[in-house]
Symmetry: C2
Subunit: 193 residues, 2 copies
């Protein structure tokens, strides 16, 4: 087990329904040093690839995406979940996303100004489970005819189908931790070299 | 005019109703270098004061708050606008906030686990206008009996009453830019030494 897995084991909390609660360092309280270290790992993993923009979804993707944008000195764009009077429907790309955790649909949107066909995009998010949010973002990136460089994830639930779906599309995925199972309230990790 | 004011002049857009649209570098697309430089300024301004935690409100406060958390090596907490099944009402501090921009009320909430009476808190946000969001956050900080170290703001609309309200409470405010007026679609700044 590496240091970051030990950290997740110590600070993560397993709830009913295969939920891993990480609100002490990711999605309510944020450990900015953890975000920085994760961004360093993403930068290293994708160092030979072209990246013109980092894209994420509000709110929990913003911290790691901003750190990575700072390290790469490229703009960060966060897809918005809430409609805004300042973002007209015909000036935005939009996509519906199903949340299994919340058991509801929501839409994500992005101004057409901030993703273009010239962009090479690294998509960053806090979780990868079934891949619904991720494929929603990829749909928007595709609507803009931008190129996808890869996907960076803080916590991957490897026992759900998201990673497999991305690999089937030949997408390069870098996950900071890969959770193999949450059964019996125990976090176990995918063995990595 | 300093460099950062020139930057805001170049990238900000004035809309009807005294709205300064900064979605190209703050609240949709994020300029991570701008966030880093702002965090350096906040750190310098409050360098003689005790800070155990940075608090902000989702979503647009997260980027500058995370950068500051990284520079200070203290945790960042973002107050949530959306109710969550993972955050029970009796385990959270909550406060209503009126948004003049959106002309509606919303509530912000924070798990009681992440702000305590031992905390010395620097509150960070993207905008200070009438101070509604800020006083909502201060209300939550006060419910937790935590101490407020000060307030750091990216863009202050100095022609609205937020700053005055904070100064009346003897709160130390550090704003990266202070906008004196948006009249006639022109951004002018408060003259500073």
């Amino acid at each position: 087990m590496n240091k970051i897995e030990e950290y997740v084991l110590k600070h993560g909390q397993v709830l009913k329904g295969n939920i891993l609660k990480v609100d002490s360092f990711v999605n309510h309280q944020i450990d900015a040093d953890f975000m920085y270290e994760s961004a360093v790992t993403f930068k290293e993993h994708f160092k030979d690839k072209k990246i013109t923009k980092v894209v994420t979804i509000e709110s929990s993707g913003i911290a790691p995406a901003t750190m990575l944008g700072y390290l790469l000195h490229v703009p960060v764009v966060f897809l918005k979940k809430e409609a805004s009077a300042l973002l007209n429907k015909d000036e935005a790309y939009e996509c519906n996303v199903h949340s299994y955790t919340k058991n509801k649909d929501y839409s994500v949107r992005c101004s057409k100004k901030y993703i273009s066909e010239d962009d090479h995009i690294l998509f960053i998010d806090d979780f990868l489970a079934n891949g619904e949010a991720c494929f929603g973002a990829l749909n928007i990136i595709s609507q803009a005819n931008a190129k996808l460089t890869g996907v960076g994830i803080l916590i991957e639930k490897s026992f759900q189908k998201g990673r497999k779906r991305l690999e089937n599309e030949n997408i390069d995925v870098c996950s900071i931790v890969r959770v193999a199972s949450l059964e019996n309230n125990q976090i176990t990790f995918v063995k990595q070299d």
